[in-house]
């Protein structure tokens, strides 16, 4: 029986076809000379799933994120991505142009510092509209309307659409960066410490907003954070890293409530109680 026959038989029996991973990372390794950035990391990410990568500074979590999202070339290992047509593509074997197009349209990247993800000297509306133009939108009115709609989704008043983000507060800039990333309806979003450097109250608002958007849009997210509370609030699954290696992985509440590895126990026991 061929694969498609099997799927047809399943469909006939009323069983939906098994959902395949959106992203498969295998044996991903990055070394800097003799030092290890990250070593032998493997995991699958399914559509709509939020994965947190936690660990303290220097644990390799940002290196890993950058290797997956092609901001850094891995020394070895593979990243497979399931394209919209259902085919799985080896990310690092794609043509450069194809990879760039994917990153502009199907992927988003939310930086810790909004300055790295925004253009500070063009208007908020243009920051959002630019990504739309990158996917072929040309109608100015439509672009502007979509931009305004997205600003309101991230709780930025319509009358700020023509202001430059350098006049925005830290929390607003971060929300604008999120709007800029999500406007093209990506399927996979990378986030590097998205709430780092924000006041606690601003952080809570942003987390709540992210939770809502992630579930409304069914986004798959890989979020790097050192904050276990952020991981608990946002993620379904969690990977704990230390010295470039994965030392524990599993369901987020299982890892946090029943940590196994000595290092995870240390991390969890170091959370300050309020």
């Amino acid at each position: 029986m061929s694969h498609s026959d099997t799927l047809e038989a399943l469909a006939a029996a009323g069983i939906p076809a098994p959902v395949k991973p959106l992203l498969s990372v295998e044996g991903l390794t990055r070394v800097y000379g003799k030092r290890i950035g990250c070593a032998d990391v493997s995991f699958d990410l399914w559509p709509g799933e939020v994965l947190a990568i936690v660990g303290e500074s220097g644990s390799g979590k940002t290196t890993l994120l950058n290797c997956i999202s092609s901001r850094l070339t891995p020394t070895c290992g593979t990243v497979h991505y399931r394209m919209r047509d259902g085919a799985s593509a080896d990310f690092y074997k794609m043509a450069e142009a194809e990879r760039r197009y994917l990153m502009r349209t199907d992927w988003g990247f939310v930086h810790q510092n909004p300055i790295d993800g925004l253009r500070m000297t063009v208007s908020a509306g243009a920051n959002v509209g630019e990504r739309l133009m990158a996917v072929g939108n040309r109608h100015y009115g439509n672009i502007r309307n979509t931009a305004i709609e997205w600003l309101s989704r991230v709780e930025i008043d319509e009358d700020r659409v023509d202001d430059q983000p350098r006049t925005f507060s830290g929390g607003m800039r971060q929300r604008l960066q999120i709007a800029r990333n999500l406007v093209t309806e990506p399927r996979l979003v990378f986030m590097d410490e998205p709430t780092g450097g924000l006041d606690v109250s601003v952080q809570a608002r942003l987390l709540d907003l992210l939770r809502g958007l992630v579930s409304d849009l069914g986004l798959a997210v890989i979020v790097v954070t050192h904050d276990l509370a952020v991981a608990r609030l946002l993620s379904d699954r969690m990977i704990v890293m230390k010295e470039g290696r994965v030392i524990e992985a599993g369901l987020t509440d299982r890892v946090l409530d029943d940590p196994r590895a000595p290092y995870t126990q240390l991390l969890v026991s170091s959370i300050l109680q309020v």
Partner: protein
Amino acid sequence: MNTLLVASEVKKTFIMHMRGGVELPVVANVSFSLKAGSCAVLGGPSGVGKSSILKMLYGNYGTDSGQILVQHHGRHIDVASASPRTVLEIRRDTIGYVSQFLRAVPRVSALDVAAEPLLIRGVAQETAHERARELFAELNLPEKLWSLPPATFSGGEQQRVNIARGFITDHPILLLDEPTASLDAANREVVISLIARKKAEGAALLGIFHDQDVRTAVADDVIDVSAFAAGKSAA
């Protein structure tokens, strides 16, 4: 009667690496089953491992060995060895859980907290909110609180939000960790009637109740957890 969950020879030990790797045996040889349309109660003194058993069934705690077979979408799945994705799916559709304490999320209203289990199953927001409002009214939660985030609610109010969240779905298996601990007599009665309704609908319930009256009112079966004390496993 239809058996919905079977735990067999489940064992749990905590290893405290922060304290020199000391081993803390919790339970061993945990074996029981849950049947449709009935409520079993975990009995035994505090610290004997009742909550740990509930948490293992829900996949919140790992297990050292043993199986927890759950009837999920017509198949038997072992929660103890299932992948995180499968555990999440089991939680969405098969096993519900009312925890002792509410984990409040900033800015999320009581209504949304209670409606969430329906929303993640794709129920329309209006329907889910309507159902949450009905449960809140039944549990005598003051209407002025419904649209507020529960972080500042009293213990009893938070618990009622938690109960509404747990009872809002039609999960075939429902785990209850002291759902009546901080409720007054009138609201305890409401919970008793909610449990009776679940039983009538054919759900299998497993609970921890310190309140003797509630236990007498709901229990069809008492599982003595001290029999699973880890020290006795060799016997």
